[in-house]
């Protein structure tokens, strides 16, 4: 099951044209943000992949492109062998059934004017699933998200539910179409620690039992570690590291990933307080530094880093990294 | 035998806002005619739309309210008698109702040529009788005009009350004497002024200004008859076709230039030119020739005797300075008239000279060495659009001469009763309010119908209810304000729905199911 490629992302980029301020106009600038910059990766059927990175590095933008919610500036996304940018309305419906989204903020993800029931049935109506199947599918989804004991909530409105319950509803709505693929954009960051675990467990279980492929976006490596097999690190729109989660966390190769891992606090009294191997602030996304975009904060940066962009190279089996300072993979390790 | 019904009628009137009395009268008439089986709707229109319908599309309307206003030159009956009902004026002249009666035409033409006053009186009476019989108009009232002034400011014995015009007249403005420190005569006008131009009669208050700034050869005297003014004498030959005019030697224009015979001739001659002063042209049309005899004398020759010439021409035409106007008139382009020429100096030779005019007032100041120098220092005409405000300003002393009061006369009376320093003077107008039938259209082409409809209207009711008692029931185009010419016999009119119904039935009309029907065989052609 893990061999078939479900999603193939090639040279994907997205730039947002920003509106110009008075100063921009005077100086003749046309500011734009390269939110996602030339990304390549593949996702196999049933694989879960975590995308980590600092705020603003383009995670959400990537996720939304994968679901055809925004059009890429360039590059292509093949889903199940088909380029999703060329879908017609029927094909798009078919795509929508197979690819779903779980939202960061459950309090906002449900139409406040719809009952929970209506929200869960809505995808079935929208994608024209025959009506006799609806109940069955909904029942399945409710069981999956462990809401089978909360049926009385179905006729409530979103504002009457707690965050944890809402996020289950959001999950149920995403799963009701039995998709092959979901994007979960920080699905637990708005939730209390006590209920977080519940959602994470459901995600893990669904991953295992439904063979669902997933892109799990977070800036918390601990969460990614709990849910994903593979992890991609992004920095300013580009992938800087890609590899199996465990390896990435235990042995980060890119200096940025290293800082990221180091920065995650742990609920443990004994932990290192050594200073972060990272200086400065995130550069202005409108004029990123030339060369490696991390070069101005990188403790290891050398001249070459400031001059040219490091390509994303495969350095070990299943591991890719975009850094000049990481030694080339030795042939033998393959 | 089947008879066909009279169509539903629209009775046009000025909009209620603009002329509530007229509108009210129209509604009363509509109510009364309803009892005769006519379906009448009153439609109040703004001035321009009303004149568009009634004046410029003469075939298209049925009945309309209208009015003729009194002006000094109308103190001779000729203007109304010759113009209103003469068939020559049906197409584009004053006879907009399309009344045509050869007998009337004959009388109207004849009265002009008769210089003898008693003989002419008989003809004028006859004209009134014909109109009374044919009822092309339903005369409603001669409005009573009310003027008020401040007795604390003015010596009331010095005011001149002229028949048909009241105390608002040229002579008053000259003669009135201030009692105290307030030496300005401040009067009001209820409309926006649109021009102060010696070649233009706008119908608004500005003609009062024109009259003060520009002298005339003759002026209407307190008895309503013309008397020499800028002329020392006006003498006629026996046929009444040649006038010899000797001008005063003490006249000069406000810019210092003397008033010459040439100016007089120019003033009478220039309106004759095509397209210069359309409003004055009819007044000077009777003149066939003029000749300067010496520096103070000239002659005016008419084709035929004209009884009204002194009143409507010599007392009417402004004496303008040739040195200012001749070049202006020469520069007129095609289609342009002297009416629209902006001549800012407004130099005349009258007892007042033009000072300034802004949006809200016109100021004239007296010329002390004019032969008829005014007693006041200035005459100020203030535009006060709001009646209420004009009354308020009279009370507060901001106005001391209420010359244009369009509101409820009772309120003015009350104000005078409450305030000793306010005196009110009423006068019956030379002009009148009426309803015009379109005599071109059935059933109004039938004098019997017109008569019946006229008799159905209770004029006393109209005067009381629409004009609040400030109007005198009318039945002639010559006002009782001109007692010598007024034919009192026309007052005897039968009144009442019964009379009217009977008359209609006599003429073959019938009321079926509450609706008026034509006599058998006649049908609606509209």
């Amino acid at each position: 099951m893990h061999d078939e490629i479900l999603l193939d992302v090639k040279n994907l980029s997205k730039s947002f044209i920003l509106s110009r301020s008075l100063g921009d106009v005077i100086n003749g600038r046309h500011p734009q943000v390269d939110a996602v910059n030339d990304i390549n990766f593949t996702l196999k059927r049933g694989e879960t992949i975590g995308v980590v990175g600092e705020s603003g590095c383009g995670k959400t933008t990537l996720g939304r492109m994968l679901l055809k919610l925004i059009e890429p500036t360039s590059g292509s996304i093949d889903f199940g062998g088909e380029d999703i940018s060329t879908l017609d309305r029927t094909d798009e419906l078919a795509f929508r059934r197979r690819a779903q989204l779980v939202f960061q903020n459950p309090f906002d993800a449900l139409n406040p004017h719809f009952t929970i029931r209506r929200s869960i049935y809505e995808p079935l109506v929208n994608t024209q699933v025959p009506e006799e199947q609806h109940d069955q599918l909904v029942a399945d989804a409710l069981v999956r998200v462990q809401m089978d004991r909360m049926l009385h909530l179905l006729d409530s409105y979103p504002h009457q539910l707690s965050g944890g319950q809402l996020q289950r509803v959001v999950l149920a709505r995403a799963l009701v179409l039995k998709p092959d693929f979901i994007v979960a954009d920080e699905p637990v960051s708005m939730l209390d620690v006590s209920v977080r675990a519940g959602i994470l467990n459901v995600l893990r279980e669904v991953r295992d039992t439904m063979g669902l492929a997933a892109v799990f976006i977070s800036h918390d490596l601990a969460l990614v570690r709990y849910v994903c097999e593979r992890t991609i690190t992004m920095y300013m729109g580009s992938v800087v590291e890609d590899g199996p989660t465990k390896d990435v966390i235990n042995r980060p190769l890119h200096p940025y990933t290293r800082a990221l891992v180091q920065a995650v606090p742990v609920p443990n009294v004994i932990q290192s307080h050594e200073p972060l191997a990272l200086t400065g602030n995130l550069p202005d996304a409108r004029n990123p530094p030339p060369g490696c975009r991390f070069s101005d904060r990188c403790p290891l940066a050398e001249d070459i880093c400031r001059q040219s962009r490091p390509p994303l190279r495969t350095v070990e089996q299943n591991r890719r990294v975009a850094c000049f300072k990481v030694p080339e993979m030795t042939a033998g390790t393959a | 035998q089947s008879v066909s019904p009279v169509r539903a009628l629209t009775l046009y009137s000025r909009a209620q806002a603009a002329n509530p009395q007229q509108y009210q009268a129209a509604e009363l008439i509509a109510q009364a005619w309803g009892d005769l089986g006519l379906d009448v709707t009153v439609s109040g229109l703004p001035q321009n739309q009303l004149s568009d319908v009634v004046w410029y599309n003469r075939d298209s309307w049925d009945v309309s309210m209208w009015q003729m206003v009194g002006r000094p030159e109308r103190s001779d009956p000729d203007d109304f008698v010759s113009n209103l009902f003469h068939s020559a004026n049906i197409e584009s002249g004053y006879n907009f109702v399309g009344y045509s009666n050869p007998e009337y035409d004959r009388v109207a033409e004849a009265q002009r040529l008769v210089v003898d006053r008693d003989a002419r009186q008989a003809l004028i009476y006859e004209a009134q009788d014909i109109v009374n019989a044919d009822q092309p108009y339903v005369f409603l009232v001669y409005p009573t005009k009310s003027y008020a002034y401040n007795t604390a400011v003015f010596d009331d014995t010095t005011l001149v009350n002229q028949p048909g015009l009241g105390i608002k007249n040229f002579l008053s403005f000259i003669a009135v004497e201030p009692k105290g420190d307030q030496k300005d005569l401040i009067m009001n006008v209820s409309n926006e002024l649109n021009a102060i131009n010696p070649y233009y009669i706008s119908g608004a208050g500005d003609s009062w200004m024109t009259e003060l700034i520009w002298d005339r050869i003759m002026r209407i005297d307190a008895d309503g008859l013309p008397t020499p003014w800028a002329a020392e004498s006006v003498t006629w030959n026996d046929e009444g076709t040649l006038a010899t005019i000797v001008i005063r030697d003490d006249l000069s224009f406000h810019d210092g230039m003397p008033v010459r015979v040439e100016d007089m001739i120019f003033s009478l001659e220039s309106p004759q030119r095509a397209g210069v002063a359309p409003m004055y042209k009819p007044f000077v049309d009777p003149i066939v020739a003029m000749e300067k005899l010496d520096d103070r004398t000239f002659t005016v020759e008419l084709a035929q005797p004209n009884a009204a010439f002194e009143t409507s021409t010599l007392s009417k035409v402004n004496i303008v300075p040739e040195h200012i106007w001749a070049p202006l008139l020469d520069a007129l382009v095609e289609g342009e008239t002297a009416e629209s020429v902006l001549e800012d100096s407004r130099v005349g030779s009258g007892p007042f000279k033009f000072d300034r005019w802004n949006q809200s007032e016109v100021v004239l100041s007296a010329i002390p060495d004019h032969f008829a120098a005014a007693k006041v220092d200035r005459v100020i005409m203030r535009v006060v659009l709001n009646v209420e405000a004009s009354l308020g300003m009279l009370r507060s002393g901001e106005l001391n001469f209420l010359t244009d009061y369009t509101g409820d006369p009772q309120l003015l009376k009350d104000a005078a009763d409450a305030d000793d320093s306010i005196a009110v003077v009423d006068v019956t107008d030379i002009g009148f309010q009426f309803l015009g039938f379109n005599c071109r259209r059935a059933p109004f082409d039938d004098p019997a119908v017109r008569r019946a409809l006229s008799f159905a209207i209770n004029r006393r009711l109209i005067a009381g209810a629409a004009y609040n008692g400030f109007g005198r029931p009318a039945n002639s185009h010559v006002s009782p304000a001109l007692p010598f010419w007024y034919n009192a016999a026309t007052e005897e009119l039968p009144v009442g729905i019964d009379v009217a119904t009977a008359m209609l039935e006599d003429a073959g009309y019938s009321i079926v199911d509450g609706q008026l029907h034509y006599p058998a065989g006649m049908t609606e052609q509209y």
């Binding site: 779903q100 939202f103 993800a109 929208n126 049926l151 | 509530p20 209420e388 609040n468």
Partner: protein, 323 residues
């Protein structure tokens, strides 16, 4: 072309799911519109219960609405009928009596009857104009806000232009050009007043458009019209209502002003007409407070009621402003 989805789950979950089925089937299903209307109704009644402003406003409206409906029963005379006393006199300028509750006008008409009849035209103008304004405004706001881009640009420039035209003068010119009729006043109001509500609704839509639940509708395959009218529109309905109640006031005020200036129809009695009549007939100077105060107060009350209601709704439904 419906496409089936195979249910596929593990045996154990299937069992649990099967147990759920009857519960799903018996519960009320997707009664979307009815539920929504029910909710809207609830909100409608909730507001006057929670806000005194809305309560007072609704009561005032109710009184005027009843007056308008039963106007024919309430009047004593035809509002435009000229009343006569004996001896050729009008019953003019009478002070209030048992026969003429508010006295008579200068032209001998019963003021009370005019006041009652005026309610009708006020409400007619107010409601039709408000509905036109808000309908246009809502539609434009929805479309501009949701589609953005050149459509938005175009519509908003149009709105700018409409806002750049002086309102009352325009209605006056329109009324005198198209003829003095209330429908033309309504037209003028509709043509120029929609941008206010359109702008607010547009910005609301623009923020709704970015909300996650709209994105959710997109990922679950909803088409753009469905999103616009099923998901977004109900969320701006309250706002539209708010604007309707304000617009009623504007329309009535405008109609009154136009009539007052003498550009209104002379055969329809409205409060503006009454005030114009009073003003032109020197009621002020005569001190006929019984004539020019009541119509003014009626206008104040109706318009104020609209403001009160909108305020109440704002307080309860958009509690950010709650005072």
């Amino acid at each position: 072309m419906p496409q089936a989805i195979e249910p596929m789950g593990t045996a154990s979950t299937d069992q649990t799911a099967a147990a759920l089925l009857p519960h799903l089937a018996t519960a009320p299903r997707r009664s979307g519109l009815i539920a929504m209307l029910g909710r809207a109704g609830n909100a409608f009644w909730r507001v006057p219960r929670e806000s005194n402003y809305a309560k007072v406003g609704l009561i005032i409206y109710l009184i005027f609405a009843l007056t308008a409906i039963f106007a024919d029963q309430l009047v004593h005379y035809e509002p435009l009928e000229i009343l006569f006393a004996d001896n050729y006199q009008l019953r003019r300028n009478l002070p209030p009596t048992t026969d003429h509750w508010l006295g008579t006008s200068y032209s001998g008409r019963d003021i009370y009857s005019q006041l009652v009849m005026g309610t009708r035209s006020a409400l007619a103008v107010g409601l039709t104009a408000a509905i036109c304004v808000v309908a246009i405004g809502t539609l434009v706001g929805l479309v501009a806000g949701y589609f953005g881009g050149w459509i938005d640009n175009l519509l908003m420039r149009l709105a700018d232009i409409a806002l750049g035209i002086p309102f009352l003068p325009f209605v006056i010119v329109l009324a005198s050009f198209m003829g003095a009729a209330q429908s033309n006043v309504v037209l003028g109001i509709a043509l120029l007043l929609w941008p206010n509500s359109a702008r607010v609704i547009r910005s609301q839509v623009m923020s709704l458009r970015e909300r996650a639940f709209i994105e959710a509708a997109r990922v679950t395959g909803a088409g753009k019209w469905r999103i616009l009218f099923v998901h977004i529109a109900p969320n701006v309905l309250a706002l539209s209502f708010l604007y309707t109640s304000v617009a009623v006031g504007w329309a009535i005020l405008t109609e009154a002003s136009v009539s007052f200036l003498g550009f209104g129809p002379s055969d329809t009695v409205s409060w503006g007409y009454m005030l114009q009549d009073a003003y032109a007939s020197q009621a002020l100077g005569r001190g006929q407070y019984n004539w020019f105060i009541p119509p003014g107060l009626c206008i104040v009350f109706v318009v104020m009621a609209g403001f009160f209601i909108s305020r109440g709704y704002e307080e309860v439904l958009f509690p950010k402003l709650k005072g």
